[in-house]
């Protein structure tokens, strides 16, 4: 199925007016592919049907949000990132009486649980993790913290490469073919809905982790979100981006210093 760029623009504009979800500043080539994929999944064959169904069918729209955003994630994705966080950031974070970390775009929770494990092993127990996403569906799965047992082998290897000190299997209970994350790890994590496009700052953080979310946004929207992060960081607070993401092309780059160039870890100056 083919949809033209003006049609995509029009569709996203109508979605915004109808539901308040604004995808108009997502990366154009990328969102277009997602919309076409959504049509294929639902066997929608032309633009007019798509527009009609989407505007009238609330349940279909819920799935639209889920499908046009990319939710794939893992535990300890990019072990070198977690390693760097542990080595370069934790010693500083440990000097605060209480720490707040924000995982923006946490998807199904794996990244936040990975952080919780690292914090526990470094005795940074007085830390609260706020994990947010646009998507209520993925947040439900995140709160549940139940993942396929099949993935645990890869996650164990990621955990070891990240510098984990214990045995990864201590952090979950196997139940049939599912791995249930320990309740202890959930204690300090608050999962809640937050839309980076339209919602504002809701707290002050020592560390903001937003990985593999900005790649789906165009430069204007990235700028908005980076401003939001800047405002939400304490002075000398840290920002961790995904491995392909950068502050380099943003006007905010002068307000941050680079802590780890390869791992895309920055610190708010002053």
């Amino acid at each position: 199925m083919e949809i033209s760029d003006p049609e995509i623009d029009q569709l996203l504009y109508q979605v915004k007016n109808r539901y308040g979800y604004d995808f108009t500043n997502y990366s154009q080539a990328s969102i277009k592919r997602r919309v076409i994929r959504f049509c294929e999944i639902h066997r929608i064959e032309n633009y007019f049907d798509l527009k009609h169904h989407l505007i009238n069918d609330h349940i279909l729209f819920t799935d639209f949000v889920l499908q046009v955003t990319v939710n794939i994630t893992e535990m300890f994705r990019d072990p070198s990132f977690f390693k760097s966080v542990k080595e370069n950031l934790f010693p500083h974070l440990a000097t605060y009486p209480h720490c707040k970390i924000w995982h923006a775009g946490c998807s199904t929770g794996e990244e936040a649980y990975s952080m919780a494990i690292m914090l526990e092993e470094s005795n940074l127990m007085k830390t609260t993790i706020y994990a947010t996403d646009i998507n209520s569906e993925v947040l439900m799965q995140a709160r549940e913290g139940t993942y396929s047992m099949k993935l645990m082998k890869d996650y164990t290897s990621n955990y070891i490469k990240s510098g984990g000190n214990n045995s990864f299997s201590d952090y979950y209970t196997a139940h049939y073919n599912m791995a249930i994350i320990n309740a202890g790890l959930k204690k300090n994590i608050v999962f809640s809905q937050h839309n980076l496009v339209s919602d504002g700052s809701f707290n002050e953080f020592n560390f903001i982790v937003c990985r593999n979310v900005l790649i789906y946004f165009n430069k204007d929207l990235q700028e908005r979100v980076l401003n939001l992060f800047y405002e939400s960081l304490v002075p000398l607070g840290y920002l961790g981006l995904g491995s392909k993401e950068t502050l380099q092309f943003s006007s905010l780059r002068d307000k941050f210093e680079v802590i780890d160039k390869k791992e895309k870890i920055y610190r708010r100056i002053e």
Binding site: D5, Q28, A29, S30, R34, I72, S243
Partner: protein, 203 residues
């Protein structure tokens, strides 16, 4: 034959098995003043791609790098897709990434690079499909052709694996089936008529 009035502003290249050697051969054959930006997807095992820019730099004077998200496509660069992300071309002439599902069991997928290049740059795109043991890239190359771009397929007889070029030929991308050692020569003549007044990149 090629339309000499078109100015080609982007070359996209894909390959899998044997693709690395083939691509190095092409790079080594480019003339010293060659400057059209090139983006390359090679199917590889997860993790290996990080070494590619270093290795390829030894074969060319062009700047070889893995692009960052929203990096502007610039003349004189060879951009290498890293492992495990799809690389896309945006209409404003920047790259973007996606961690969406593999396509044709591949991430990065050649089809995604080619299709987004065709949609964003239309007839200014040159697509080159090299040796490979699957059919990723054929659909994308066909799209480049449909949008008026210039398509080159490595001749199967010079390809280590024939499936990839053969799939493209099967789809009708058969106007320029070229032996590997001739591809660079072909590229060197692109934009020839315009070489004196090469315009600002308008992507």
């Amino acid at each position: 034959m090629k339309n000499t009035k078109t100015i080609y502003n982007l070359i996209v290249v894909g390959g899998s098995n044997g693709g690395m050697d083939a691509f190095m051969k092409i790079l080594s054959g480019l003339s010293p003043d060659f400057h059209i930006p090139i983006a390359f997807v090679l199917h590889q095992q997860r993790g290996i791609q990080t070494l590619l820019p270093d290795i390829l730099s030894r074969h060319t004077n062009l700047i070889v790098n893995e692009p960052l998200d929203k990096e502007q496509i610039c003349d004189g660069h060879v951009y290498i897709a890293p492992s495990d992300y799809h690389l896309l071309i945006e209409p404003d002439g920047t790259f973007s990434y996606s961690y969406s599902e593999p396509i044709n069991f591949s991430r990065p997928s050649i089809d995604i690079l080619f299709e987004t290049a065709a949609e964003s740059f239309g007839n200014q795109v040159v697509g080159i499909l090299l040796t490979g043991a699957n059919n990723d890239g054929a659909k994308g190359l066909f799209k480049i052709q449909n949008k008026g771009g210039f398509c080159i397929v490595q001749s199967p007889k010079t390809a280590r694996s024939q499936e990839m070029p053969q799939s493209a030929i099967g789809m009708g991308c058969d106007k320029h089936i070229i032996d590997l050692d001739q591809i660079a020569i072909y590229l060197n003549t692109l934009n020839m008529d315009n070489i004196l007044n090469h315009p600002e990149q308008n992507g």
